[in-house]
Protein backbone atom coordinates (compact mmCIF):
# COMPACT_ATOMS: atom_id res chain seq x y z
CA UNK A 1 0.00 0.00 0.00
CA UNK A 2 1.38 3.36 -0.93
CA UNK A 3 0.60 6.41 1.20
CA UNK A 4 -0.46 9.48 -0.63
CA UNK A 5 1.26 12.72 0.33
CA UNK A 6 -0.58 16.03 0.40
CA UNK A 7 -0.17 16.38 -3.35
CA UNK A 8 -1.74 13.00 -3.90
CA UNK A 9 1.55 11.44 -5.03
CA UNK A 10 2.70 8.11 -3.73
CA UNK A 11 5.76 7.73 -1.49
CA UNK A 12 8.31 5.02 -1.79
CA UNK A 13 7.69 4.22 -5.43
CA UNK A 14 9.09 6.09 -8.38
CA UNK A 15 5.98 7.37 -10.12
CA UNK A 16 5.90 6.60 -13.82
CA UNK A 17 4.91 9.12 -16.41
CA UNK A 18 1.19 8.91 -17.05
CA UNK A 19 -0.16 9.02 -20.56
CA UNK A 20 -0.33 12.66 -21.67
CA UNK A 21 0.28 15.07 -24.54
CA UNK A 22 3.89 16.16 -25.02
CA UNK A 23 5.44 18.70 -27.39
CA UNK A 24 6.57 17.58 -30.83
CA UNK A 25 7.85 20.40 -32.94
CA UNK A 26 7.84 19.54 -36.64
CA UNK A 27 10.21 21.41 -38.91
CA UNK A 28 9.47 20.65 -42.57
CA UNK A 29 12.79 22.21 -43.55
CA UNK A 30 14.67 19.69 -41.43
CA UNK A 31 12.61 16.91 -42.99
CA UNK A 32 13.71 18.14 -46.41
CA UNK A 33 10.11 18.92 -47.36
CA UNK A 34 10.62 22.64 -47.80
CA UNK A 35 11.18 22.04 -51.51
CA UNK A 36 7.44 21.45 -51.91
CA UNK A 37 5.84 22.92 -48.80
CA UNK A 38 5.56 26.69 -48.91
CA UNK A 39 3.92 27.20 -45.56
CA UNK A 40 3.96 26.49 -42.71
CA UNK A 41 7.62 25.58 -42.49
CA UNK A 42 7.15 24.40 -38.93
CA UNK A 43 4.32 23.65 -36.54
CA UNK A 44 3.54 22.02 -33.21
CA UNK A 45 2.21 18.51 -33.79
CA UNK A 46 2.46 17.11 -30.21
CA UNK A 47 2.71 13.43 -29.42
CA UNK A 48 1.38 11.07 -26.77
CA UNK A 49 3.68 9.57 -24.22
CA UNK A 50 3.37 7.77 -20.92
CA UNK A 51 1.92 4.65 -19.43
CA UNK A 52 -1.66 3.51 -19.22
CA UNK A 53 -1.58 1.74 -15.89
CA UNK A 54 -4.25 0.83 -13.40
CA UNK A 55 -6.39 2.67 -12.41
CA UNK A 56 -7.06 4.54 -15.64
CA UNK A 57 -8.15 8.15 -15.22
CA UNK A 58 -11.41 9.15 -16.86
CA UNK A 59 -9.83 12.04 -18.78
CA UNK A 60 -7.89 9.43 -20.75
CA UNK A 61 -11.22 8.30 -22.15
CA UNK A 62 -10.32 4.62 -22.16
CA UNK A 63 -12.31 2.24 -24.29
CA UNK A 64 -13.96 -0.64 -22.46
CA UNK A 65 -11.37 -2.88 -24.02
CA UNK A 66 -8.55 -0.70 -22.67
CA UNK A 67 -10.08 -0.87 -19.18
CA UNK A 68 -10.18 -4.66 -19.33
CA UNK A 69 -6.69 -4.92 -20.80
CA UNK A 70 -5.30 -2.58 -18.13
CA UNK A 71 -7.01 -4.56 -15.38
CA UNK A 72 -5.66 -7.83 -16.76
CA UNK A 73 -2.19 -6.32 -16.95
CA UNK A 74 -2.38 -5.06 -13.37
CA UNK A 75 -3.31 -8.54 -12.15
CA UNK A 76 -0.84 -10.44 -14.26
CA UNK A 77 1.69 -8.32 -16.23
CA UNK A 78 2.86 -11.38 -18.16
CA UNK A 79 -0.63 -12.03 -19.56
CA UNK A 80 -0.92 -8.83 -21.55
CA UNK A 81 0.87 -5.49 -21.92
CA UNK A 82 -0.80 -2.34 -20.62
CA UNK A 83 -3.08 -0.50 -23.05
CA UNK A 84 -1.49 2.00 -25.42
CA UNK A 85 -1.17 5.73 -24.97
CA UNK A 86 -2.33 7.13 -28.31
CA UNK A 87 -3.90 10.24 -29.83
CA UNK A 88 -7.67 10.24 -29.30
CA UNK A 89 -8.41 13.52 -31.04
CA UNK A 90 -6.53 15.01 -33.95
CA UNK A 91 -7.10 18.27 -35.81
CA UNK A 92 -6.14 19.47 -39.29
CA UNK A 93 -3.73 22.15 -40.41
CA UNK A 94 -3.63 24.22 -43.57
CA UNK A 95 -0.70 23.63 -45.89
CA UNK A 96 0.28 25.66 -48.92
CA UNK A 97 2.42 23.65 -51.30
CA UNK A 98 3.56 23.17 -54.87
CA UNK A 99 2.18 20.13 -56.68
CA UNK A 100 3.74 17.98 -59.39
CA UNK A 101 2.49 20.38 -62.07
CA UNK A 102 4.21 23.35 -60.37
CA UNK A 103 0.85 24.76 -59.29
CA UNK A 104 0.35 26.35 -55.89
CA UNK A 105 -2.19 24.39 -53.84
CA UNK A 106 -3.88 25.10 -50.53
CA UNK A 107 -4.97 22.00 -48.70
CA UNK A 108 -6.39 21.23 -45.33
CA UNK A 109 -4.61 18.12 -44.13
CA UNK A 110 -6.53 16.05 -41.61
CA UNK A 111 -5.10 14.55 -38.43
CA UNK A 112 -1.94 16.61 -38.26
CA UNK A 113 -2.09 17.87 -34.66
CA UNK A 114 -2.73 15.88 -31.49
CA UNK A 115 -5.41 17.56 -29.44
CA UNK A 116 -5.73 14.89 -26.76
CA UNK A 117 -4.25 11.57 -25.74
CA UNK A 118 -5.88 8.55 -24.21
CA UNK A 119 -5.57 4.84 -23.52
CA UNK A 120 -6.73 2.41 -26.16
Amino acid sequence: TAFANRHGKRHGKKSRLRCSKKPLHVNFKELGWDDWIIAPLEYEAYHCEGVCDFPLRSHLEPTNHAIIQTLMNSMDPSSTPPSCCVPTKLTPISILYIDAGNNVVYKQYEDMVVESCGCR
Binding site: D34, D35, I38, P92, S94, A100, N103, Y106, V113
Partner: protein, 274 residues
Protein backbone atom coordinates in the same frame (compact mmCIF):
# COMPACT_ATOMS: atom_id res chain seq x y z
CA UNK B 1 -8.80 42.62 -51.69
CA UNK B 2 -7.78 42.72 -48.10
CA UNK B 3 -4.99 40.61 -46.79
CA UNK B 4 -5.40 38.66 -43.64
CA UNK B 5 -2.22 38.70 -41.62
CA UNK B 6 -1.23 36.59 -38.67
CA UNK B 7 -0.59 39.08 -35.92
CA UNK B 8 1.67 38.15 -33.04
CA UNK B 9 -1.16 38.95 -30.67
CA UNK B 10 -3.52 36.35 -32.10
CA UNK B 11 -2.68 33.80 -29.47
CA UNK B 12 -5.93 32.01 -29.02
CA UNK B 13 -6.29 28.84 -27.05
CA UNK B 14 -4.80 26.93 -29.95
CA UNK B 15 -1.99 29.35 -30.72
CA UNK B 16 0.55 26.82 -29.49
CA UNK B 17 0.04 25.16 -32.81
CA UNK B 18 0.96 28.21 -34.83
CA UNK B 19 3.61 28.07 -37.44
CA UNK B 20 6.58 30.32 -37.01
CA UNK B 21 6.48 31.95 -40.37
CA UNK B 22 9.23 34.51 -40.63
CA UNK B 23 7.88 37.99 -41.16
CA UNK B 24 8.97 40.55 -43.62
CA UNK B 25 9.20 44.18 -42.51
CA UNK B 26 5.80 44.85 -44.05
CA UNK B 27 4.16 42.37 -41.75
CA UNK B 28 3.43 39.88 -44.50
CA UNK B 29 4.77 36.44 -43.73
CA UNK B 30 7.96 35.98 -45.70
CA UNK B 31 7.17 32.48 -46.80
CA UNK B 32 10.30 30.60 -47.60
CA UNK B 33 9.47 29.96 -51.19
CA UNK B 34 8.28 33.42 -52.01
CA UNK B 35 11.33 33.80 -54.17
CA UNK B 36 11.90 31.15 -56.81
CA UNK B 37 14.64 28.92 -55.49
CA UNK B 38 16.39 25.63 -56.03
CA UNK B 39 17.28 26.48 -59.62
CA UNK B 40 19.10 23.29 -60.51
CA UNK B 41 18.65 21.27 -57.37
CA UNK B 42 18.04 17.59 -57.79
CA UNK B 43 17.68 17.93 -61.51
CA UNK B 44 20.72 16.29 -63.03
CA UNK B 45 19.68 17.24 -66.54
CA UNK B 46 20.32 20.83 -65.58
CA UNK B 47 17.07 22.07 -67.09
CA UNK B 48 15.24 23.16 -64.02
CA UNK B 49 11.62 24.19 -63.94
CA UNK B 50 11.40 27.45 -62.09
CA UNK B 51 9.55 26.98 -58.87
CA UNK B 52 6.09 28.50 -58.92
CA UNK B 53 5.74 31.80 -57.18
CA UNK B 54 2.77 31.72 -54.81
CA UNK B 55 0.11 34.11 -55.95
CA UNK B 56 -0.94 36.72 -53.41
CA UNK B 57 -4.49 35.35 -53.56
CA UNK B 58 -3.30 31.91 -52.48
CA UNK B 59 -1.16 33.36 -49.69
CA UNK B 60 -4.16 35.32 -48.53
CA UNK B 61 -6.32 32.17 -48.55
CA UNK B 62 -3.71 30.30 -46.55
CA UNK B 63 -3.40 33.07 -43.97
CA UNK B 64 -7.15 33.44 -43.55
CA UNK B 65 -7.84 29.73 -43.15
CA UNK B 66 -4.86 29.23 -40.85
CA UNK B 67 -6.20 31.93 -38.55
CA UNK B 68 -9.62 30.29 -38.66
CA UNK B 69 -8.08 26.97 -37.64
CA UNK B 70 -6.29 28.58 -34.73
CA UNK B 71 -9.63 29.97 -33.60
CA UNK B 72 -11.17 26.52 -33.92
CA UNK B 73 -13.30 27.44 -36.95
CA UNK B 74 -13.53 24.89 -39.71
CA UNK B 75 -12.38 26.80 -42.79
CA UNK B 76 -14.43 24.56 -45.08
CA UNK B 77 -17.55 26.24 -43.65
CA UNK B 78 -16.47 29.55 -45.21
CA UNK B 79 -18.62 30.53 -48.14
CA UNK B 80 -15.49 31.51 -50.07
CA UNK B 81 -14.06 28.01 -49.71
CA UNK B 82 -17.20 26.43 -51.21
CA UNK B 83 -16.78 23.62 -48.64
CA UNK B 84 -13.59 22.52 -50.38
CA UNK B 85 -10.60 21.15 -48.55
CA UNK B 86 -8.26 21.64 -51.50
CA UNK B 87 -7.85 24.79 -53.55
CA UNK B 88 -5.55 24.60 -56.56
CA UNK B 89 -4.36 27.61 -58.53
CA UNK B 90 -3.33 27.50 -62.18
CA UNK B 91 -1.54 30.40 -63.82
CA UNK B 92 -2.53 31.43 -67.34
CA UNK B 93 -0.23 30.07 -70.06
CA UNK B 94 -1.82 31.97 -72.92
CA UNK B 95 -0.05 34.65 -74.96
CA UNK B 96 -1.19 37.92 -76.39
CA UNK B 97 -2.01 38.41 -79.98
CA UNK B 98 0.75 40.84 -81.04
CA UNK B 99 -1.17 42.35 -83.91
CA UNK B 100 -1.99 46.05 -83.49
CA UNK B 101 -5.63 45.38 -84.33
CA UNK B 102 -8.11 45.93 -81.51
CA UNK B 103 -8.27 42.95 -79.21
CA UNK B 104 -11.84 41.68 -79.26
CA UNK B 105 -11.20 38.22 -77.85
CA UNK B 106 -8.60 36.92 -75.45
CA UNK B 107 -7.83 33.29 -74.75
CA UNK B 108 -6.71 31.97 -71.37
CA UNK B 109 -5.05 28.56 -71.25
CA UNK B 110 -4.60 26.40 -68.18
CA UNK B 111 -2.95 23.02 -67.77
CA UNK B 112 -5.33 21.30 -65.37
CA UNK B 113 -3.97 17.79 -65.91
CA UNK B 114 -2.92 17.50 -62.26
CA UNK B 115 -6.56 17.57 -61.14
CA UNK B 116 -7.68 14.11 -60.16
CA UNK B 117 -11.03 12.68 -61.19
CA UNK B 118 -11.21 11.18 -57.70
CA UNK B 119 -11.69 14.66 -56.35
CA UNK B 120 -15.12 16.21 -56.20
CA UNK B 121 -15.19 19.51 -58.07
CA UNK B 122 -17.13 22.00 -55.95
CA UNK B 123 -16.23 25.28 -57.64
CA UNK B 124 -13.95 27.05 -60.08
CA UNK B 125 -13.35 30.69 -60.81
CA UNK B 126 -11.28 32.65 -63.26
CA UNK B 127 -9.65 35.70 -61.73
CA UNK B 128 -8.65 38.37 -64.23
CA UNK B 129 -6.68 41.40 -63.18
CA UNK B 130 -8.05 44.53 -64.78
CA UNK B 131 -5.34 47.17 -65.01
CA UNK B 132 -6.25 50.77 -64.45
CA UNK B 133 -5.47 52.75 -67.60
CA UNK B 134 -2.48 55.05 -67.07
CA UNK B 135 -4.35 57.93 -68.65
CA UNK B 136 -7.97 58.62 -69.35
CA UNK B 137 -8.97 57.37 -72.76
CA UNK B 138 -9.41 60.21 -75.25
CA UNK B 139 -12.28 58.44 -76.95
CA UNK B 140 -13.67 55.82 -74.61
CA UNK B 141 -16.16 53.43 -76.12
CA UNK B 142 -19.60 54.86 -75.37
CA UNK B 143 -22.06 53.02 -73.15
CA UNK B 144 -21.60 49.98 -71.04
CA UNK B 145 -19.43 47.10 -72.19
CA UNK B 146 -20.29 43.54 -71.52
CA UNK B 147 -17.44 41.13 -70.90
CA UNK B 148 -18.47 37.60 -71.65
CA UNK B 149 -16.61 34.43 -70.90
CA UNK B 150 -16.96 31.27 -72.99
CA UNK B 151 -15.15 27.98 -73.34
CA UNK B 152 -12.93 28.38 -76.44
CA UNK B 153 -14.77 27.55 -79.68
CA UNK B 154 -18.05 27.30 -77.85
CA UNK B 155 -21.15 29.49 -77.92
CA UNK B 156 -22.07 28.49 -74.33
CA UNK B 157 -21.84 31.53 -72.07
CA UNK B 158 -20.22 30.78 -68.70
CA UNK B 159 -20.34 34.18 -67.03
CA UNK B 160 -20.51 37.88 -67.87
CA UNK B 161 -19.59 41.27 -66.40
CA UNK B 162 -20.70 44.74 -67.33
CA UNK B 163 -18.09 47.51 -67.31
CA UNK B 164 -18.33 51.21 -67.92
CA UNK B 165 -15.24 52.18 -69.95
CA UNK B 166 -15.87 55.89 -69.37
CA UNK B 167 -15.16 55.52 -65.69
CA UNK B 168 -11.48 55.17 -64.83
CA UNK B 169 -11.68 51.99 -62.78
CA UNK B 170 -9.35 51.25 -59.93
CA UNK B 171 -7.13 48.28 -60.71
CA UNK B 172 -8.75 45.15 -59.44
CA UNK B 173 -9.78 41.60 -60.03
CA UNK B 174 -12.79 40.52 -62.05
CA UNK B 175 -13.96 37.10 -60.96
CA UNK B 176 -15.85 34.82 -63.33
CA UNK B 177 -17.57 31.61 -62.31
CA UNK B 178 -16.26 28.84 -64.59
CA UNK B 179 -17.41 25.82 -62.62
CA UNK B 180 -19.69 24.56 -65.38
CA UNK B 181 -16.99 25.05 -67.98
CA UNK B 182 -14.57 22.91 -66.05
CA UNK B 183 -17.14 20.30 -65.07
CA UNK B 184 -17.83 19.46 -68.69
CA UNK B 185 -14.15 19.17 -69.59
CA UNK B 186 -13.42 15.84 -67.91
CA UNK B 187 -10.98 14.15 -68.17
CA UNK B 188 -9.05 17.28 -67.30
CA UNK B 189 -6.11 18.19 -69.50
CA UNK B 190 -6.21 21.72 -70.86
CA UNK B 191 -8.81 24.32 -70.11
CA UNK B 192 -9.20 27.05 -72.67
CA UNK B 193 -11.43 30.01 -71.84
CA UNK B 194 -12.14 33.00 -74.01
CA UNK B 195 -13.05 36.50 -72.93
CA UNK B 196 -15.12 38.27 -75.54
CA UNK B 197 -16.25 41.85 -75.78
CA UNK B 198 -19.41 41.71 -77.83
CA UNK B 199 -19.97 45.46 -77.73
CA UNK B 200 -22.09 47.91 -75.80
CA UNK B 201 -25.80 48.38 -75.81
CA UNK B 202 -27.30 49.23 -79.13
CA UNK B 203 -25.13 49.55 -82.23
CA UNK B 204 -21.99 50.83 -80.54
CA UNK B 205 -18.51 49.90 -81.74
CA UNK B 206 -16.87 46.89 -80.18
CA UNK B 207 -14.52 47.79 -77.31
CA UNK B 208 -10.85 46.85 -77.34
CA UNK B 209 -10.00 44.55 -74.42
CA UNK B 210 -6.66 46.36 -74.00
CA UNK B 211 -8.43 49.67 -73.46
CA UNK B 212 -10.54 47.97 -70.80
CA UNK B 213 -7.41 46.90 -68.90
CA UNK B 214 -7.23 43.26 -69.98
CA UNK B 215 -4.11 43.41 -72.16
CA UNK B 216 -1.32 41.05 -71.18
CA UNK B 217 1.65 43.26 -72.04
CA UNK B 218 3.79 44.39 -69.12
CA UNK B 219 2.05 42.23 -66.56
CA UNK B 220 3.85 41.08 -63.44
CA UNK B 221 3.58 37.41 -62.47
CA UNK B 222 1.16 38.38 -59.70
CA UNK B 223 -1.12 40.05 -62.24
CA UNK B 224 -1.50 37.07 -64.54
CA UNK B 225 -4.89 35.44 -64.86
CA UNK B 226 -5.50 32.74 -62.30
CA UNK B 227 -7.81 29.76 -62.45
CA UNK B 228 -8.77 28.73 -58.94
CA UNK B 229 -10.30 25.27 -58.57
CA UNK B 230 -12.09 24.16 -55.41
CA UNK B 231 -12.24 20.42 -54.77
CA UNK B 232 -13.13 18.07 -51.97
CA UNK B 233 -10.52 15.36 -51.76
CA UNK B 234 -11.06 12.08 -50.01
CA UNK B 235 -9.02 11.72 -46.85
CA UNK B 236 -5.67 10.33 -47.83
CA UNK B 237 -2.55 9.17 -46.13
CA UNK B 238 0.08 11.89 -46.36
CA UNK B 239 2.69 9.52 -47.75
CA UNK B 240 0.35 8.20 -50.42
CA UNK B 241 -0.11 11.78 -51.49
CA UNK B 242 3.62 12.43 -51.41
CA UNK B 243 4.26 9.49 -53.69
CA UNK B 244 1.69 10.81 -56.15
CA UNK B 245 2.89 14.36 -56.10
CA UNK B 246 6.60 13.83 -55.88
CA UNK B 247 7.19 11.45 -58.72
CA UNK B 248 10.68 12.89 -59.16
CA UNK B 249 14.07 11.80 -57.83
CA UNK B 250 13.49 14.26 -55.03
CA UNK B 251 10.66 12.02 -53.82
CA UNK B 252 13.02 10.05 -51.67
CA UNK B 253 14.22 13.06 -49.74
CA UNK B 254 12.98 12.74 -46.22
CA UNK B 255 10.47 10.06 -47.09
CA UNK B 256 10.29 6.97 -44.93
CA UNK B 257 11.72 4.93 -47.79
CA UNK B 258 15.01 6.75 -47.51
CA UNK B 259 16.69 4.47 -45.03
CA UNK B 260 20.41 3.72 -45.03
CA UNK B 261 21.34 0.31 -46.40
CA UNK B 262 22.73 -0.75 -43.02
CA UNK B 263 19.41 0.02 -41.34
CA UNK B 264 17.48 -1.76 -44.08
CA UNK B 265 19.55 -4.86 -43.39
CA UNK B 266 18.72 -4.54 -39.70
CA UNK B 267 15.01 -4.35 -40.55
CA UNK B 268 15.29 -7.48 -42.71
CA UNK B 269 17.06 -9.41 -39.93
CA UNK B 270 14.53 -8.22 -37.40
CA UNK B 271 11.65 -9.22 -39.69
CA UNK B 272 13.17 -12.68 -40.17
CA UNK B 273 13.56 -13.05 -36.42
CA UNK B 274 9.89 -12.12 -35.90
Amino acid sequence: FQLASIGSSTKGPRSRREAKVARSPRGIPALASHQPRLPQEAQPGGKAQQRAEPHEYMLSLYRTYSIAEKLGINASFFQSSKSANTITSFVDRGRDDLSPAPLRRQKYLFDVSTLSDKEELVGAELRLFRKAPGHRLSQPPPGLSSMQLFPCLSPRLLDARTLDPREAPPAGWEVFDVWQGLQQQQPWKQLCLELRAPGGRGQQPLPDLRSLGFGRRGRAQQEKALLVVFTRSPRKNLFAELREERGSPREERGSPQRVPQETQQQFKTRRKRR
